[in-house]
C-alpha cells in the first residue's frame, strides 16, 4: 500500500534505471556529472535562489516550441523584449502522454518542413544535451512546465539537462489533465520525481518544485485549490524537496484572490515542514479568455492589479492571444509588459481593501475542513487520505475530466463575483460554511430573479470571455451598479 514515505535510495536507483531505458536519450543521464553541470551554472540561473530572494513579484510567461533553436530564440526574446524574470519551457502533449515516438515524428516534421505541429518542446527527445544548450543560451532561470501524469523520464532528463524548476504534481497534473491515469499511479510516479529532486537538493542543487495551482482553471473555489497545494507540497517535502512554490489561479474577484493568496502563503508555511522554503505563484486568469486582444488586456491587467496588492513571489502571465491559440512571441511579451506596468505602478501604493481578512478566514476554515478530512480518511497518512477522500468525493475538483475525481462539485459566483460552491455533492465541509455559501448564492439568485441552476454555472463559465465577471442573465437587472 502506497504511503507518504520517502523512497529508499536503492529503490530510487532501481526506478531511475528502469525509466531511463524507456527512450534512448535516457542513457545520457549521469547524476554525478549532472551535479557538476548544475554547480557550474552562474547564480542568476539558480531558479530557487532567484525566486526566493526577489523583492517584488517575478514574471514568467508560458512558452514552448518544438525546435531547439526556435526555443532558444523564443526564450531570449521573452527575456529581452518581454522582460520576463523567469522563463518556461512548455512541453508538447505527446511527451505528456509519454508517446516519445509520436513526439519524435512531430519534431522531425518540424525540422524538415518547418511546420510546427507539436504544441511544445519535446525535452525527452532533445535529451540532456539539447536541454543544456538551452540552459546555456538563455540568461535566466528556466522551469519545465508540462501537464504530464507520468513525468519520471521527463524529470530525469530535464534535471540532468540543467533545469532547476519543475511544475506539476500527482493531483494537479492528473485531475485536470487526463482521464487515463489513476490517482494512486500518479502519486507513485510523482514520488519518484520529487525524490529525484530531493536527491539533487541533498547535493546542494535545490530543484524548485511547483504544484499546479489553477487545476481546471475554471471557477475553482480557493479552498479546494489550496488543499491540493498543501497535499502536493507535503508529498514533495517528504521526498526531500526544499524549495516549493504553491500556486493559485486568479478567479477575478480582487478581494477573494488576495485573500486566497494570503491564505495559501500562511497555510503553506503552517502545513509544510520548517525546512522547506515556501513561495507562492499567482496565475493570471486560467479560464476562457475574451476573443478580443483588447479585452484580453483588461483581464491580464486585472491580474496584474491583484498581484500588486497580494504580492506573490511569482506571476504567470497570459498573453492577449490566449483565446485564439498559442501566442506569437510578440503577444507573449506584450502580456508580460502589460502586467509589469500595472504591477510597478500599483505596487508602491498602500491598497488595503476591506473584507480581505474575513474572506481569508473563510478560505482558511474551508481548507482546514478539507485537510482534516484528508488526514482522517488516511488515518494520518496523506497519500491514503488523498486517495480515499477523492474516492468518496469528500475531496473534489469542479470540471475534473479524470475518473479519479467525482467532478460533481459545481461552483458559481455570488453577487459580488466571488466563487462559491453551488453543488456540494459529497465535498466535506462544515455545515455553517455551507450555509454561508448558500446565503451568498441565494442573494445572487434574488438579484437576478432566477433560480440557482446549471444555467448559472454555464453563464459564469462564459462571463469573462463575454466581457463580464458574473454571468448575469441577459435581460435581467445588472445588480447594484
Amino acid at each position: 500500500m502506497i504511503r507518504d514515505e520517502r523512497i529508499p535510495s536503492d529503490e530510487l536507483r532501481r526506478i531511475d534505471e528502469e525509466i531511463r531505458s524507456n527512450w534512448p536519450t535516457g542513457e545520457d543521464v549521469d547524476f554525478e556529472e549532472a551535479i557538476e553541470y548544475h554547480e557550474s551554472l552562474p547564480d542568476h540561473k539558480r531558479f530557487a535562489d532567484v525566486l526566493e530572494s526577489a523583492d517584488k513579484p517575478l514574471l514568467q510567461p508560458r512558452a514552448g516550441v518544438p525546435r531547439l533553436d526556435d526555443q532558444i530564440e523564443l526564450l531570449q526574446y521573452l527575456h529581452e523584449e518581454g522582460k520576463a524574470d523567469l522563463l518556461p519551457t512548455t512541453i508538447d502533449s505527446y511527451t505528456r502522454d509519454n508517446e516519445y515516438e509520436k513526439a519524435q515524428q512531430g519534431l522531425d516534421k518540424a525540422l524538415e518542413t518547418g511546420d510546427d505541429t507539436l504544441n511544445g518542446f519535446p525535452a525527452v527527445n532533445h535529451g540532456v544535451d539539447g536541454c543544456r544548450q538551452l540552459i546555456d543560451a538563455v540568461d535566466a532561470p528556466i522551469e519545465v512546465r508540462h501537464g504530464t501524469p507520468d513525468a519520471r523520464l521527463l524529470a530525469a532528463i530535464t534535471f540532468a539537462g540543467g533545469f532547476q524548476s519543475f511544475e506539476g504534481g500527482p493531483i494537479s497534473y492528473n485531475i485536470p489533465y487526463t482521464k487515463r491515469h489513476g490517482l494512486e499511479e500518479t502519486i507513485e510516479k510523482w514520488q519518484f520525481v520529487d525524490r529525484l529532486a530531493g536527491a539533487y537538493t541533498e547535493r546542494g542543487v535545490r530543484i524548485n518544485r511547483e504544484p499546479f495551482g489553477p487545476l481546471t482553471g475554471t471557477l475553482v473555489p480557493p479552498s479546494i485549490a489550496i488543499a491540493v497545494m498543501l497535499v502536493e507540497g507535503k508529498l514533495a517535502a517528504t521526498q526531500g524537496v526544499r524549495s516549493i512554490t504553491l500556486g493559485y489561479g486568479q478567479v477575478g474577484n480582487v478581494v477573494q484572490d488576495v485573500a486566497a493568496l494570503n491564505a495559501l502563503k500562511k497555510l503553506g508555511n503552517e502545513y509544510l515542514p520548517d525546512e522547506v522554503v515556501v513561495t507562492t505563484v499567482f496565475h493570471e486568469w486560467m479560464g476562457g479568455f475574451p476573443p478580443d486582444e483588447a479585452r484580453a488586456n483588461g483581464v491580464i491587467s486585472l491580474g496584474g492589479m491583484t498581484a500588486a496588492i497580494a504580492q506573490p513571489d511569482k506571476v504567470i502571465t497570459k498573453s492577449p492571444q490566449e483565446f485564439q491559440g498559442v501566442p506569437t512571441k510578440e503577444a507573449n511579451s506584450a502580456g508580460l509588459r502589460t502586467t509589469r506596468q500595472v504591477i510597478d505602478m500599483a505596487i508602491e501604493q498602500k491598497i488595503d481593501i476591506d473584507g480581505i481578512e474575513e474572506e481569508q478566514d473563510l478560505i482558511e476554515r474551508e481548507t482546514r475542513c478539507l485537510m482534516d478530512t484528508i488526514f482522517e480518511h488516511g488515518d494520518g497518512d496523506v497519500v491514503q487520505g488523498t486517495l480515499k477522500a477523492f474516492d468518496s468525493g469528500a475531496l473534489d475538483v469542479p470540471f475534473a475530466p479524470s475518473d479519479s475525481a467525482k467532478g460533481a462539485v459545481l461552483p458559481a459566483r455570488d453577487d459580488d463575483g466571488r466563487v462559491r460552491i453551488f453543488e456540494w455533492a459529497d465535498l466535506e465541509m462544515d455545515e455553517d460554511i455551507k450555509e454561508i455559501h448558500k446565503a451568498r448564492l441565494s442573494q445572487r439568485a434574488d438579484t437576478e430573479g432566477r433560480d440557482q441552476s446549471f444555467r448559472m454555472v454555464a453563464d459564469d463559465v462564459d462571463a469573462i470571455s463575454d466581457g463580464k465577471l458574473i454571468g448575469r442573465p441577459q435581460s435581467q437587472p445588472q445588480g447594484d451598479v
Binding site: 502533449s93 485536470p176 475530466p401 454555464a458
Partner: protein, 146 residues
C-alpha cells in the same frame, strides 16, 4: 431516425469544460447525448456511435492537435458502419491561424461542419436540427456559414 448524438474530446485532449456546456445545451434542446468525455479515441467514437445508432457525432478539440488526431477518422467510422452527421468544433489549429483555412482542412478530412471556438451552442443545435430533418443541398448548407 434516432436523435442521439455522441459527443467527446478526441485524442489526448483533456479540455472538458466545452463539452460539459455542450452536453447540457444539447440535452436541454431534446437530444439524447452520449458524452464520451475527454481523451476519446477514434475507435471509441465509432463504437459508441454504432452502439447507440447515433445520428450525429460531435467531436471537440481544443489543444491544437486536432488535425493529427482526426487523420483517417471518417474511414474508421465507415468501417464501423456508422452513418452519421459529423461535426468538429473548438480550437482546431496550433497558433494564430486564419479560421477559413482551418475549416477547409477539416472539411477535407470529411467533417460535415466545422465550428470555431466562438460558436454559441445554440448555433450548433440549429445547424444539427436542419441537417437531421432535411438533407440540405450544398448550396443551402453554405448559407449557414459553418
Amino acid at each position: 431516425m434516432s436523435q442521439t448524438v455522441v459527443l467527446g474530446v478526441i485524442g489526448s485532449d483533456a479540455h472538458v469544460v466545452g463539452i460539459t456546456i455542450l452536453e447540457q445545451a444539447f440535452s436541454a434542446a431534446g437530444f439524447d447525448v452520449v458524452n464520451l468525455g475527454v481523451q476519446t479515441s477514434q475507435e471509441e467514437f465509432a463504437e459508441a456511435a454504432k452502439a447507440h445508432d447515433a445520428s450525429a457525432v460531435l467531436v471537440s478539440s481544443l489543444y491544437g492537435h486536432a488535425e493529427q488526431d482526426c487523420q483517417g477518422f471518417q474511414g474508421v467510422l465507415e468501417d464501423a458502419g456508422v452513418d452519421a452527421v459529423t461535426y468538429i468544433g473548438g480550437n482546431l489549429a496550433v497558433g494564430q491561424d486564419e479560421f477559413e483555412e482551418t475549416r477547409r482542412t477539416f472539411r477535407e478530412l470529411g467533417f460535415d461542419r466545422v465550428f470555431d471556438s466562438e460558436t454559441d451552442p445554440e448555433d450548433a443545435i440549429a445547424a444539427l436540427r436542419e441537417d437531421l430533418q432535411i438533407t440540405p443541398t450544398e448550396s443551402e448548407r453554405a448559407t449557414i456559414s459553418s
